[in-house]
């Protein structure tokens, strides 16, 4: 155990980094993307502006990292692969539905989505930095299922992902229906029926 009197620069840096990311995400929820400034993030996080600029080149970069941190970083994501595609997807979709039903998770994600929907540049950045790597991890699991004969050999994996996730996304955005484990299961079963091998 480190002596609490001895300053540990690595730990202090990590604490500051987390404070900045939390502040960025909170401010986007409260104010919307456009009104958040580097100054406001620094003030909320209790760090100097120069600390933020040392680690991130722009406001957009901080905010995107703050959302990456929330989803535990897109690039390291791997879906479970027990060999049973239906069971694995149900586990993942139930977790996703639970996240979107959780106010603490959904509020900042909703704020980010509203910005993305209104701003094509941000949408492209989101696609490249956040959605892209996560979709790639999901497609990796789908490819493994396709090799195992659990999806049609000619299944278009981008379309599979859209059919699996877009109904949840729409239901959440428009608050047009309940977000339940049963709904997660129904989406997986529907998608696998649509893309099963002949």
């Amino acid at each position: 155990m480190a002596n609490p009197r001895t300053p540990n620069p690595a730990r202090r840096n990590e604490r500051s980094r987390r404070a900045v990311l939390d502040a960025a995400r909170d401010l986007v929820s409260e104010l919307g993307y456009a009104k958040v400034t580097i100054e406001a993030i620094a003030a909320r996080a209790g760090v100097g502006k120069q600390t933020i600029y040392r680690w991130w080149p722009s406001k957009g970069a901080v905010i995107f990292d703050s959302f990456l941190a929330l989803s535990e970083g897109g690039e390291g994501v791997r879906l479970p692969d027990t060999g049973d595609l239906e069971a694995d997807l149900k586990m993942v979709m139930r977790a996703t539905v639970a996240e979107f039903a959780d106010p603490a998770f959904e509020a900042p994600v909703r704020a980010l989505n509203m910005e993305i929907i209104g701003d094509p540049t941000l949408a492209a950045m989101y696609g490249e930095k956040l959605a892209g790597p996560v979709d790639e991890a999901k497609k990796e699991r789908l490819r493994s299922g396709r090799r195992a004969g659990q999806l049609a050999a000619d299944a278009d994996l981008d379309l599979v992902l859209e059919v699996l996730y877009a109904p949840l996304y729409q239901r959440w955005l428009l608050r047009s229906g309940p977000l339940t484990p049963e709904y997660a299961d129904a989406l997986v079963e529907t998608t696998l029926r649509a893309f099963r091998p002949e």
Copy 2:
């Protein structure tokens, strides 16, 4: 043909009504729902405020009517029924995809969607006044297809509509892929595969 010198109150009313609805929709696109006022709509339409209040009880009511007018009124909608569910849905989905690919249509609808996504009260109003009646018309066509054995007898028609439309909605909102007739067809084929009778 009416004498142009003779004022025709019915025609004048209809012209004013349309001017108000066009102004309301344009202003929502330009400013966002929150910033639009009855005064601004009246000024843009070239009518008095009292004209608007004579026909509509509130700003929300005018704006919703302006979007109803765009989709030619939800309640009168009927989907084609040639007996061939796949062909009928492809026709409808191709038309819908073309609308969303049209900047003149999509800009005000995007502005409205951003407001709805951020405001649960507006979302409920949208569901009741706009989406609800249109979805009912679509489900009527699906019921006819289900009776004809083109959909599984136990198909959940709300889920069928979500699987059919949500991928298009998400792709349009996030600009995450092309909106083409081929995409419309793929959504119909995928949905019918997912819900075909055993």
